[in-house]
Amino acid sequence: MDRPAAIEARGLEKVFHDPQRGDVRAVSGLDLLALEGEIYGLLGPNGAGKTTTLRILSTILAPTGGTARIAGVDVTRDPLEVRRRIGFLSSSTGLYPRLTARETLEYFGKLHGMPPEELRARVEELLDTFDIRPFEHGRCDGLSTGQKQRVSIARAVLHDPPVLILDEPTTGLDILASSAMIDFIHSRREAGTCVLFSTHILSEAERLCDRIGVIHAGRMLDVGTLDELRERTGRRWLEDVFKALVDSSRETSAIASAPGGARA
């Protein structure tokens, strides 16, 4: 692991205040390290804290504790610079429905400060790469789910970011669109981009990831290659590996919360 860190989080915390439930700790002391050119999968059940973690790393949310750096830039101190270095995609990052596919790309390119000539060339390239050209002048609210997904990917990589953060990128997609997304993630590895993506689909993680981080109840339970995780848990299938880690975490929590448990 002599490659430099692309994403580095230490002791990351996020507490939300809810008027009914009081303080809710969504992420608790989470450490994460993803390297340049690495595909890192964040695996966890619903409500584990995956989305909150990715939102913090992409500067949508501010952490309430800990630190995180993207390509060497602190997300709290310079969130604007972080946004220039990432491409972020999730089910919540919809396309502007009243802009066309081309207008969407041009808008983001202009706000990234790309010179007109460079932007024009990059947009043309992306229209071809993602096969958007047949519907480039169609308003986004009239596009199919698959077409929207292609435009969203093009939007995320328009400025050629060194880090891509994808939150459950295949959720809601049909088989063809999911397959295209997986191919795209593969292609970014070859381009040297660090891809951090969350999923609860174990087969995706198994197929794509260089390393997998298992997250549960806002904490990172374990990190490693699939083989390392198998070795540490003594299980063969990722599903069993995942369950073993979660069960182990629950047992540890129960011991810690028992009387005198914290000293044990």
């Binding site: 501010a62 808008y107 706000l111």
Partner: protein
């Protein structure tokens, strides 16, 4: 990892965001209809409200003291009892206390000796600059049984004076005729009636300006509010509903620039709506009034100079309205809930605007600091050509301060995580807590 090579300045970012948001707003049919078409259809309702407001102030007018110059030709005689009849109670209500009228007898001559004489002469010659006299009643010479009232209908006190003379002079003229008939032992109808003529010395254009000053300032506020209403909801609550709020938060520009760009787009829509509405009034008002025929004796022309003068104030006001509406609409989680929230909020602007057109309410240094009312009263004064430079400057300063405060309020509120990413509508009562809450990236 190489650092990104390109940057865009926050100012350019604001303009680009505003341009995109404006384009998106104009492409939305509902926004276009409610912002540009509906306000034009609302004019009849607005006129009705204005009339009701004017009636409310009628009571106040009843207690206004007016000064009437009573002048006569060199060889004319002021009939005995005329000053008392003009200043006294109405013939129909002889026990009444009467209305406050001060009658000043003046001689009208080419070289007047007093200020009142000079004004009486000037009014008779058609000048509308009198300040000591509200109207002058001129009695013609010799056997010519004729009285002429000269007044300036653009002055509210002069119109009160005319109304009071109209109530008192004809009964007095009739009793004078009856008395003369008795003296001559003839039937009263054998004598010529005493002719009473009314002369409005205000130029027809000025009379139109007064009519405009009663409605245009209020319309300006309503147009700005209506113009900002739907874009404000669309670009905040609508964005949450469409699932593009996070997309916007990922833009590589400061968050403040994003919200300022949105406010600029909302403001631009409000200004466009105002312009289109004014254009519609300008094109249609004269034609509509002409169709009423001789019942209307004034002309309405869009006062280009006054509009240009009020434009900076209107622009500051549009920013103020846009920022407040955008900030409040940001608390809603859906377009529908945003509309419901802005319904009561817009009344904060519209009600003072309606109050501002009440006759007698005028711009003063103190009024210049009352939000909404200040811009209405300033525009009203500009339309009738009043040179209240100190008050205009104070109004501009106050509007600038309110606009900046409203923009700061909206940007701070919209930048809160609990507002930007909330999946449910937040009550207006939580605004202070939200403004103090943490969790906001630059």
């Amino acid at each position: 990892m190489p650092a990104p090579r390109h940057r865009t300045s926050p100012f350019r970012a604001i303009l680009r965001i505003a341009k995109k948001e404006l384009l998106a707003s104009l492409r939305d049919r509902q926004t276009a209809i409610y912002t540009f078409v509906l306000p034009i259809c609302l004019y009849p309702v607005i006129f009705w409200v204005a009339i009701q407001g004017a009636l409310l102030f009628q009571g106040r007018r009843e207690h206004t003291t007016v000064s009437i110059g009573l002048a006569r030709a060199a060889d004319a005689v002021i009939p005995e009892g005329l000053p008392a009849a003009l200043a006294g109670p109405l013939p129909a209500d002889p026990e009444g206390s009467g209305q406050p009228i001060r009658v000043i007898e003046v001689d009208v001559r080419e070289e007047p000796a007093t200020h009142a004489e000079a004004e009486a002469w000037a009014l008779r010659e058609g000048s509308s600059d009198a300040d000591a006299l509200d109207a002058v009643l001129f009695l013609a010479a010799g056997d010519e049984a004729r009285a002429e009232l000269f007044y300036d209908s653009t002055e509210s006190r002069a119109t009160v004076a005319r109304a009071r003379i109209e109530e008192r002079l004809p009964p007095f003229a009739q009793s004078l005729r009856a008395q003369r008939a008795i003296e001559l032992s003839v039937a009263p109808d054998r004598l010529d009636p005493i002719a009473i003529e009314m002369h409005d010395v205000a130029p027809s254009r000025d009379r139109g300006a007064v009519a405009l000053s009663m409605m245009l300032p209020m319309l300006l506020v309503i147009m700005a509010v209506m113009g900002a209403f739907f874009p404000a909801v669309d670009l905040t609550a609508g964005e949450k509903e469409r699932g593009t709020a996070e997309t916007t938060m990922l833009l590589p520009v400061p968050r403040a620039a994003i919200h300022e760009g949105k406010i600029l787009a909302v403001c631009a829509t409000a200004v466009i709506a105002c312009f289109l509405n004014l254009l519609a009034i300008g094109l249609s008002a004269d034609h509509l009034l002409a169709s009423l025929g001789s019942a209307i004796d004034f002309r309405i022309e869009l006062p280009v100079t006054a509009l240009l003068a009020v434009a900076p104030l209107a622009l500051l006001f549009a920013f103020f309205v846009s920022a407040v509406l955008t900030g409040v609409a940001g608390l809603a989680a859906s377009f529908k809930e945003g509309q419901a929230m802005l319904g009561p909020t817009q009344m904060l602007f519209i009600l003072p605007a309606v109050a501002g057109i009440m006759p007698g309410l005028e711009l003063s240094p103190a009024m210049a600091f009352v939000p909404v009312l200040n811009v209405v009263l300033a525009f009203k004064a500009m339309l009738v050509g009043k040179a209240l430079y100190l008050e205009y400057a104070l109004t501009a300063g106050a509007l600038l301060a309110y606009a900046l405060a409203a923009i700061a309020f909206a940007v701070r509120l919209l930048s809160r995580e609990s507002v930007a990413l909330s999946g449910k509508t937040l009550p207006l009562t939580n605004v202070l807590r939200l403004l103090r809450s943490g969790g906001a990236h630059r």
